[in-house]
Amino acid sequence: MDNIQNATSTQAEKRGLFRELYQYRDLLLMVTWRDIKIRYKQSLMGFLWALLMPVLVVGAGVIAMIAFSRVSGHGFDKAAIFSVAVRSVSWAFFAAGVRFGTNSLIMNKELVTKIYFPREILPLASVLASFVDFAVAIAVLVIVLSIVKIGVTIHLLWVPVLILLLTSITMGVSILLSCANLFFRDVKYLVEILLTYGIFFTPVLYSAKSLGKMGTLMLVNPIGPILEGLSSVVIQHQAPDLKWLANSAAWAILGFALFWKIFEKAESSFAERI
């Protein structure tokens, strides 16, 4: 009896937000695995790309920072370089997750029009696949930071919380944009533009504090306080600025819920509008 109850599904039935996702957890993992797998299939370096990318991202950040310090005449210290490394790796995760997530529905047109399953799986799996690359980058950072003896403090307990907030915002934004991109294909170009310019409105290459008034704008951007927070707990050994972090948390929780709701409303017309 219980079995039948479980399998019973009617269109009229209201879907629980997380219940259906739990039911389809194998699918979420499988699609994530597929996204990782095909990214490195038929490539020369294969999974080495996952290691090389963060190195390149950090390299770009460091070059920019050296250029800044030359122009301004101030020197820079070791801590500043590692701070840029932490920030740029996190930003790279956000950018990759959003970029990949935005295209997730239209890249899987076949699935959307031919088979039923909760469509949230697709943008969520894209973000999870980007998260795997992020995890590789984190592992590299941990090794480097322990070699240079950056030090361990109680503040490191903030790291999982901050990463969770960042992931949740990335997922929320991806869910919304994947759905928008399904209806209007120009969304993916807008996303590219926003991500390109976004790096100037996010404290990636420099800290928000060093910019004064302009810095406040960067903290309004929900990614800003998270990057600041990560740098402050890992490098400066200070607790994050809770006031601004509340802004990020609101986006991570309320924004996520709202974007999911919008996605669910629009979901029923995906197959005919794609």
Binding site: K37, I38, K114, A271
Partner: protein, 411 residues
């Protein structure tokens, strides 16, 4: 109960073009869509009804065929049942685990290997990982592709692709199986294998909804049918009635300016008009025609076809008698054919034609390959469509005790 389908007053509309013409319409349009779920029944411009007021139900274990011309809404109906699309009005309820063969291998990723795709496609179709682990060998055996498991599916032939897709899909073990014209791929033996698998599902009590243009397959597999025409259900009932309804859409093509049919009757043993016939019966087929133009030395003929139009039997006056059909305009005649109905177990169509004095293939004074439909009951002594009135005597040789010869006889 698992395996029940209820469809109640379902309407579905589609847009012919894009819905938003400009960015100006988009913002208010989108806002309205998101804030309320408008169940507007009026059609906006460029919209049309793909399905109109469709209601039916399927009991557990029943096999329902959905037939109709191209564009009549069959595939839309299947997509609604499988929850890919949502109706604009009405409700659909499907209880139990649903398996849909709408397109084989739709979830395959070309860069992944066969093995990886079995797992990927299996989970997409609703199986758990552990379940696939358990059924993996069975799936591979069914597909017959064990030698190609580690090859990316982009290097597969289209037949191999379909085989793997079907193999995964049928191992979902659904309570309700939706099948959309997928048997047409693969070679003959694989088609047969698929067909047997579907029959096995039916015997196990799986509810089946089958969309196909292959009317022979439909009549073998299904017990009931729904006929759609331009999105409207026009018939729900037994297969033979559905096939007749389906063919009746094309009745207009059969009009002749030479003669018309006044009446036609099929009789067994001098009884009245019948369409359910016992295998092997001697039948009399009477056709009463009226000439619209002068007809001279014409050859009336009769044929028996499968529902798909394959000709099983044909004969005409030129082969049977020296008599010819001669009529003046307005004059009538009755043609009386008789023959043994050595067919069994299925739906057949009885055709009637009149060819001109000099018979030329494809030239007719009158042509209707499906004037009447017949249902032949099943003779439990045999299978297939021919009724050859079989019998068997097993003759034991007294005194012979070689076991090998006994075996040969029993074979």
């Amino acid at each position: 109960m698992a395996g029940t389908i209820y469809v109640d007053g379902v309407w579905k509309k589609f847009a012919r073009g894009e819905n938003f013409d400009s960015l100006r319409d988009l913002i208010p349009g989108l806002a309205k869509r998101l804030l309320s779920r408008p169940v507007s029944q009026e059609l906006r411009k460029k919209e049309f009804w793909a399905l109109q007021d469709v209601s039916f139900s399927v009991k557990p274990g029943e096999a329902l065929a959905i037939i109709g011309p191209n564009g009549s809404g069959k595939s839309t109906m299947l997509k609604l049942l499988s929850r890919i699309l949502k109706p604009n009005k009405g409700s659909i309820s499907v209880t139990g685990r649903l398996g849909a063969l709408i397109e084989l291998g739709a979830g395959f990723h070309p860069d992944l290997t066969g093995r990886e795709n079995i797992y990927l496609n299996g989970t997409i179709l609703g199986m758990k990982r552990a379940e696939i682990d358990r059924k993996f060998d069975e799936i591979v055996d069914f597909s017959g592709l064990s030698a190609f498991l580690d090859m990316p599916v982009k290097r597969y032939s289209s037949g191999m692709y379909a085989r793997l897709g079907f193999s995964v899909a049928v191992h979902v073990d659904p309570d309700v199986l939706l099948v959309d014209e997928v048997l047409s791929v693969g070679d003959y033996h694989f088609q047969e294998q698929c067909f047997r698998k579907m029959q096995q599902f039916c015997r196990q009590g799986t509810t089946l909804v089958f969309v196909s243009h292959n009317l022979t397959a439909v009549s073998t597999l299904c017990t009931a049918a729904l006929v759609l025409k331009s999105g409207t259900p026009v018939f729900r009932g037994d297969i033979s009635g559905a096939i007749q309804k389906y063919h009746s859409f094309y009745e207009a093509d059969l009009k002749s300016r030479h003669l018309e049919i006044v009446d036609s009757r099929l009789m067994v043993n001098g009884g009245s008009d019948a369409n359910v016939i016992e295998p092997g019966a001697r039948v009399v087929f009477e056709v009463e025609v009226k000439a619209l133009a002068e007809i001279r030395d014409a050859h009336p003929g009769v044929q028996v076809h499968t529902p798909d139009g394959q000709c099983l039997f044909a004969t005409a006056a030129s082969r049977l008698t020296k008599d010819r059909l001669n009529l003046l305009p307005g004059q009538s005649a009755t043609l009386v054919f008789s023959f043994d109905m050595n067919l069994q177990g299925g739906v057949f169509l009885l055709g009637f034609t009149v060819s001109p004095e000099i018979e030329t293939p494809g030239e007719w004074l009158y042509y209707n390959p499906r004037l009447k439909r017949l249902v032949l009951t099943e003779d439990r002594r045999c299978a297939g469509v021919l009724h050859l009135n079989p019998s068997l005597d097993i003759v034991s040789q007294p005194g012979v005790i070689d076991p090998r010869s006994c075996q040969e006889v029993s074979l």
